[in-house]
């Protein structure tokens, strides 16, 4: 198995190839795992994430682009400017497969350019191009121009990854975008590319992906595809997309509303997947090689929120920009989603940050902000009035954040820094600096553990405890009852999802499958003889490795939740009167026990068991 990295030195505008030894891949697989390993080895401790010493790893995995099942993704890793620890994000679309077809299995972005630059990689040939004419431009325009310059008009051929003005202007909540509407959104890594002045990467080529045992590969991938297509979820996702969750989570009282001060939103139906499908949906769309095709294609024909045909919005974006700011207007949300994508924002962080600003605005009005801060806020806002549910103010704020005008300069720093600056730190709902996604752990108690122990910060994709607490997969649990079996499931999902992100496949595969399904395909592609248990252990190794990055930085390994979720009971819905405190306090000791951790740090014997002896020095 050959895994070829391309190192792009932006300081010198030079590129060089490097082969990753197979022994390393067997330990860390690819994608997220390989990225975590390389980052820990190569990024010096304590550096400023915006310094040229930081690196961005854009990686595929061994099965990406093979067409085995949903294998159209890529993973990005680097030191996050938002959290100050290891950040990572994942995206679908076409970029992952086309990167491999262009000749490389991953790219490492190093150094920093003096001038804005974009890079093309076509059949192994790398070229650096000046990007002055693209700097300051939105993602859609950037892709259109690059396609013209590369003489590749068809969006089915080749792929582009880029950053919007948010990333250029070092917004800590900026998303790396690809294929216009796809986002490697979380942890603000687009701002690191902005600091390196890398606007975009174009990839195209005709390299064939090596598959060692083709017969076995066909057989194993057919098994998985059968499982996926026969599962009821595939049809559901295809028909309604992720936003079908709005009504379900709302009915459980876990749809965070008005900056996490309530658990239900009275206009939930008007921002639901059912409503979107009925009123605005044009078609659905899939990533490269996908059979589920969950992505929405929508538009708004007329009125103040007129929006061209574009992808989205997804559940998380609808919640963050909708219920959490009490905007109950689907047309406005389609527009805001389009703006956020084009300017290059992480919609989860963006929605949370604007919700904080709305809360600050309310506090300034009712006199509960320090006087001088209230005055400063008023001056910075100028003519914007970010009252609850004000979609027009939100739209203006997105622009100002992207270009850092007035209040936008402060909001572009993300929820935590914004709230701290204005003297109301508990208004920001985050873990390790990363804003939380759309599930309230006061109503869905396994998410308390899932969020608190997530290595990259507030995230639902390290362990998606909603699956068993609400959706009954793989088993049903009561979301309000504390049960240690859920701790074991959270740990399992964290390890299993590390495998998924390192193979770099879609997590939507995983409702119908578990880790034992993938080892056959992996072995067929690579010629290895790995067992399912070894694969899951690799996931555990990766999870520990990521934690070590935080331990080495000296912060970001304390597992807790925001004060509001621990101390303020939900005032409404089925979880009325509950906080997340009891669940977290009961879950955490057992979690540490089964992880082999102490106070958020892996024990030396755990590292030895997982073959991580070379990192013992960190403890």
């Amino acid at each position: 198995m050959e895994f070829k990295l391309l190192r792009l030195n932006l300081t010198e505008w030079k590129a060089r190839e490097e082969k990753i030894p197979e022994s390393l891949l067997r330990k860390y697989i690819g994608g997220r795992g390989l990225g975590a390993y390389l980052a820990l080895k190569e990024i010096p401790p304590g550096i400023d994430p915006f310094s040229p010493e930081n690196k961005i790893y854009i990686l595929t995995g061994p099965v990406v682009g093979t067409g085995a099942f949903e294998t159209g993704r890529y993973h990005v890793v680097g030191k996050s400017p938002l959290t100050g620890i290891l950040g990572d994000a994942n995206s679908g679309g076409q970029f992952g497969p086309w990167l491999r077809f262009a000749g490389y299995d991953g790219i490492v972005v190093e150094g920093a350019s003096d001038e804005p630059v974009w890079v093309s990689i076509v059949d192994g040939e790398v070229q650096f191009h000046l990007a002055k004419h693209l700097w300051g431009k939105g993602v859609v325009y950037t892709e259109n121009i690059i396609r013209k310059e590369m003489n590749t008009p068809s969006e089915h051929i080749g792929s582009i990854l880029s950053i919007g003005p948010a990333g250029e202007n070092l917004s800590k909540i900026a998303a790396i975008m690809n294929d216009k509407y796809r986002a490697a959104g979380r942890t603000g890594l687009a701002a690191v590319l902005g600091a390196k002045k890398l606007k975009a990467i174009f990839v195209k080529g005709s390299r064939k992906i090596e598959i060692v045992d083709k017969e076995k590969f066909k057989e194993e991938s057919k098994k998985i595809i059968d499982k996926i297509t026969k599962h009821s979820i595939s049809e559901a996702l295809s028909k309604f997309g992720t936003a079908v969750l709005v009504n379900i989570i709302n009915s459980h009282g876990g749809l965070p509303t008005k900056n996490w001060t309530r658990g239900t939103f009275e206009k939930a139906f008007e921002i639901s997947g059912e409503y979107l499908a009925e009123k605005y949906l044009i078609s659905n769309k899939g990533c490269w090689g996908c059979v589920i095709r969950c992505s929405r294609v929508a538009k708004v024909d007329s009125g103040p929120y007129r929006t061209p045909v574009s992808e989205g919005p997804e559940y998380e974006s609808i919640w963050a920009m909708g219920a959490n700011t009490t905007i109950g207007n689907m047309e406005a949300l389609i527009k805001l989603n389009y703006l956020a994508n084009d300017l290059g924002f992480d919609t989860i962080s963006l929605g949370n940050t604007v919700a904080v600003l709305m809360e600050l605005y309310e506090k300034a009005k009712n006199g509960s902000l320090p006087e001088e801060k209230a005055k400063e806020l008023e001056e910075l806002l100028g003519d914007i009035e970010p009252s609850w549910g004000n979609a027009d103010a939100f739209a203006q704020l997105v622009w100002r954040m992207a270009y850092r005008h007035g209040i936008g300069d402060y909001a572009a720093e993300g929820a935590k820094r914004l709230a701290e600056y204005f003297g109301s730190p508990d208004s920001a709902i985050h873990v390790r600096g990363l804003e939380l996604p759309a599930y309230d752990p006061r109503a869905i108690n396994s998410m308390a553990l899932s969020y608190a122990t997530s290595n990259r910060g507030g995230c639902h994709l390290r362990a998606y405890a909603v699956s068993f607490d609400v959706l009954g997969v793989p088993d049903k649990f009561d979301p309000l009852v504390v049960d240690n079996k859920k701790v074991e499931l959270v740990k399992y999902q964290q390890d299993y999802f590390s495998v998924i992100d390192s193979l770099v496949i879609c997590k939507f595969n995983s409702f119908a499958t578990d880790h034992t399904d993938y080892v056959g395909v992996l072995n067929a592609v690579t010629g290895w003889d790995m067992t399912a248990d070894e694969l899951l252990t690799a996931g555990e190794r990766i999870y520990n490795l990521e934690r070590l990055f935080a331990v080495r930085e000296g912060h970001g390994y304390k597992d807790t939740l925001p004060k509001r979720l621990l101390e303020e009971p939900l005032p409404d819905g089925p979880a009325k009167g509950r906080t997340a405190k009891e669940a977290l306090e009961k879950y955490l000791p057992y979690y540490y026990e089964i992880r082999g951790w102490e106070d958020g740090k892996p024990k030396p014997e755990t590292l030895k068991r997982l073959g991580l002896e070379e990192f013992l020095y960190i403890l």
């Binding site: 599962h231 009821s232 559901a236």
Partner: protein, 93 residues
């Protein structure tokens, strides 16, 4: 008269033709079973199996609690309750 709301998700929404309906309770001792007798027939056909039990992979919840963790179809309901009829297994990110 005491009333409850019944909300339909996804395919049940399509079958019901609307997201939410209101149903009057027959009396103080009404159960989920009583309420579900009054929902549109198309939904009932999909929701119940031949034994009159909830058909996999559907879920029914009262105020966000799945009835499996309450008293099943015999769960008591009261004025103002929200009953959710939803497909199961939506592993959605």
């Amino acid at each position: 008269m005491p009333k409850v709301k019944v909300a339909f998700i996804q395919e049940f929404y399509q079958l019901a033709g609307k997201h939410q309906i209101e149903i009057e309770l027959p009396g103080d001792e009404a159960t989920v079973r009583d309420v579900l007798e009054k929902i549109p027939e198309a939904v009932r056909e999909r929701l119940f199996d031949e034994k009159g039990e909830i058909r996999y992979p559907a879920e029914v919840a009262v105020n966000g609690r799945r009835i499996d963790f309450l008293d099943g179809l015999d769960t008591k309901v009261k004025d103002g309750d929200l009953i959710l009829v939803s497909p199961r297994a939506l592993f959605v990110i």
